[in-house]
Amino acid sequence: MSKLTLERRADSFLTRNRKSGGLLLKQSLRRKAGSLLRALMLFGLCFLILQPILDKISVSLMMEKDLYDTTIIVIPRNLTLENYQLVSELLNLNTSMFNTAFISLVSALLQVIACTLAGYGFARFDFPLKRLWFVCVILVIVIPPQTISSSLYLHFRYFDVLGIFTRLTGGPINLKGSPLPYLALSATAMGLKNGLYIFMIRQYFRSVPLSLEEAAYVDGASTFGTFMKVMLPQAVPILVSCLLFAFVWQWTDVFYTRLFLPTANTMYLSVRLSGLAESLRTYVSTRRGITSPPVGYVMQIISTGVLVVIAPLLLLYLVAQRWFIESISSTGLKD
């Protein structure tokens, strides 16, 4: 911008201000102050959310002696990847990452399939007792799984359907330790937060215009064919985001993982992470001969572990951020 135009703009601002009797200046000042205040508040809150992650990144790259050096706050003096090596050993990274990815993906897929069917059923069909069953969906959202965890645990620990297994093998079978119980729960929409997904998917289907289906019926499509060919393509956004949520929440879940999957030698990221401090202690006491590692070091290793566990999720969020957020916006208000 040349000097002349700048001057003219300033000039015109002043003249305009004079003409408006000082109102223009007052208003534009107020607007500036408003946006400054907003920027400050948003920056503060965003910083509050991001700071722990940034802090963990910086700590995870330090050597242990950097922790005790008071001149080092954020930027490590001795850069190292040692912590990551140790953590990947303690977490048993390859196996547990694979197991976690596998169980998360499979159970998320099963859950979304079951929830989509149920959501569509509730959105588009009239059947006796529909209200009652929908209240049950709400109930599933509200009941903490902990309430039924003890009996679910015993149910699968001594698993038997109508006494069949007792006849066949002479006793109930122990399904604890195999992923089967959890997959069964997933396939029947009883996994983590599945009531919520049913609710979201139902809201979404309700917003799709009826005329689409009616056109398909007029053309002679079957109920299921219409669902598959006409309705599912409409619902891709919400399905993808439910899938993402199911995957992410399963990835970090400890509750179901602890309940059903092997307890002694669990190779799942979430469980390994929650026991990281313990495994560090045993590691240190066998290798270095100290009974307990210093607190700062434990925190450093835990930070590194958290980073390792959430890294894939952060990556997923960076790529698919739009899907995560927009589906929630689209289901929030309707009805």
């Binding site: 509050l48 069909f125 969906v137 902990q146 029947t188 929409a189 009883m190 970090t252 925190m299």
Partner: protein, 302 residues
């Protein structure tokens, strides 16, 4: 759908059947993995359950003993319950206010809005499962914290509150404020979904409504209460229920930990069932009360 419905019983029956087929997986899961364990767990809460290698599970009915034990004998349960409920009330109110304010901010036009929205939603992913309280939960850190608070109480917020107390500011209110300030991180971390829900509501309000309000001579403050708030208010219930259930289900809350400990460490299946039913009853009660209150407030606008 009305057209279809009028065509008679045959089609309606078939539609009903298809409806049932669609929800069949859910129904099956609900009956087998929800109703059955729920019934069992209610029964178990009136029993003392033992495990043995030969006979599997043994049940001995004990009547209300588990519940009576929880309220009268257990040294920590009552206190925990009261603490959690108080924490829940303050936290969920604060969450609602914060989420609403952030949504209002994010609804304005400015550079980097998408980024800010993405960051505010990040906690939905990062504060789930194990990641909740992983740093504060291990025994080592708790021990160290106690040591620090014992040895010197010198941090800025403590000093500030000490000063305020000395000048005679009302104590209970001050305590609430100080608790909220300490918990502000938790609150921000718990409000990702609520912000997005409020934001989506705000975005459905047409600009013309504000323009009309302005023409009628209402100030920004008035049009907030006359336009924005009434349109958003149905979302208050949705968000409140979500916030409360989310709070009650968090694995790092005291009672959840106690239930887990009673079950897996002390192996008292009956007692832990009783505890979780008490807890569930309290949760439902809180949800009922708060949605009643909000509905009373909202009715005014409808």
């Amino acid at each position: 759908m009305n057209g279809i419905r009028k065509q008679g019983r045959g089609i309606r029956g078939r539609r009903a059947l298809s409806g049932y087929l669609f929800i069949a997986p859910f129904l099956f899961g609900f009956l087998f993995f929800m109703v059955r364990p729920m019934a069992q767990s209610i029964i178990m809460s009136f029993q003392s359950v033992g495990l043995s290698a030969q006979s599997g599970v043994t049940h001995t009915p004990v009547g209300w003993a588990n519940y009576i034990y929880a309220f009268t004998v257990d040294p920590e349960f009552n206190q925990m319950l009261v603490d959690e409920v108080v924490r829940m009330v303050t936290h969920s109110l604060a969450t609602m206010v914060l989420a609403f304010m952030v949504a209002l901010l994010l609804n304005q036009r400015f550079k980097g809005r998408g980024l800010a929205r993405a960051i505010f939603f990040l906690p939905v992913i990062l504060s789930s499962g194990v990641l909740v309280g992983i740093e504060t939960n291990n025994s080592l850190i708790i021990g160290m914290k106690e040591l620090i608070t014992q040895s010197n109480n010198l941090n800025i917020s403590n000093a500030l509150f000490g000063l305020l107390r000395a000048t005679g500011v009302g104590l209970p209110a001050l305590d609430v404020v100080s608790n909220l300030l300490t918990a502000v991180y938790d609150i921000v971390m718990a409000s990702g979904i609520q912000i997005v829900v409020f934001l989506s509501g705000l975005q459905t309000i047409p600009r013309s409504m504000y323009e009309a309000a302005e023409m009628e001579g209402s100030s920004a403050w008035e049009s907030f209460w006359m336009v924005t708030f009434p349109i958003i208010s149905p979302l208050l219930i949705v968000n409140m229920i979500y916030t409360i259930t989310d709070f009650f289900m968090k694995t790092d809350n005291l009672i959840m930990e106690k239930i887990h400990e009673e079950m897996f460490v002390n192996l008292k299946y009956g007692y832990s069932s009783a505890l979780s039913w008490i807890y569930f009853a309290v949760a439902i009660l809180m949800i009922g009360i708060s949605s009643l209150i909000i509905r009373q407030g909202v009715k005014h606008y409808e």
